[in-house]
Symmetry: C2
Subunit: 128 residues, 2 copies
DNA sequence: CTTGACCTTCAACCTAGGTTGAAGGTGTAC
DNA sequence: GTACACCTTCAACCTAGGTTGAAGGTCAAG
């Protein structure tokens, strides 16, 4: 598949695919006689996967390190477990912090509604 | 307070404080006769607050738009109510998204632990 | 044979959130 | 009177994840 075909199929720009390749996130494409990149069809799924992983909060470096691009056989996917567990812990901490923030903002609103503006700054400073 | 004092008290660099001021996230400091910035002590709390909000996923622009820096005297604090309410909704949406993300990551871990590496690609591709 | 849609490389630019460094003024202490 | 910490501005640099544009090669259609 030419880069444009892959791009359309995966819903990304061609420049992004070249960028991924240059960064080593996906494997270098083969080349046709005229020098055009020639991708295997699986590249489309791979790019969709990468997009998805990014949305899950993984950086391209993490995705690359996870060996996603070169994880053909089941065994190699095990490399994804440690970063996934770490990410899970991150996200859980984040949820806890966000929940605390929500409560705090709600409390600030109550304070303001009660007309006790002066105490707001103190509340903000003390919280967290 | 001079910028260095504020920086030490808040645990940030002086360059960062100048940066915040330049970006309009905090109000411009007054100046002493020799041209040094002169901050009110409350700036320390404000910077601590900004740090905290950032850690929870708010951008400087959002913090700025929230009018945090210009929350002055009690009366004007009412101006904070609408942005605060908006922020509350944001945070709640954020929590919901993070929770969904957590569940998804947990599901991926389970898939990997079950040794079904081949299905990971499909799961990831289909999710979201 | 030229038009238009592709493809190539490389370099420059973008946002976000800063840091680093050069060049210079200020203030206090010995 | 000079050393040293502190302040000023401004410009350049950094990572991340790309996009945009210039300059040019390729290919099928009309």
């Amino acid at each position: 598949m030419k880069i444009g075909e892959v791009a359309r199929a995966a819903g990304v720009s061609t420049s992004r695919i070249r960028f991924y390749e240059a960064e080593g996130v996906i494997e270098p494409a083969g080349r046709t006689a005229n020098g055009y990149r020639d991708y295997p069809p699986a590249t489309v799924d791979l790019i969709v996967f990468i997009e998805r992983a990014q949305k899950l909060g993984f950086s391209l470096r993490e995705i690359q390190a996870g060996g996603v691009a070169s994880a053909p056989h089941p065994g190699a996917c095990d490399a994804l477990l440690p970063p996934l567990r770490a990410k899970l812990a991150d996200v859980e901490a984040h949820i806890a912090a966000s929940t605390a923030l929500r409560d705090e903002i709600a409390a600030m609103i109550v304070t303001l509604e009660a007309g006790e503006g002066e105490t707001l700054r103190a509340r903000v400073a003390l919280a967290g």
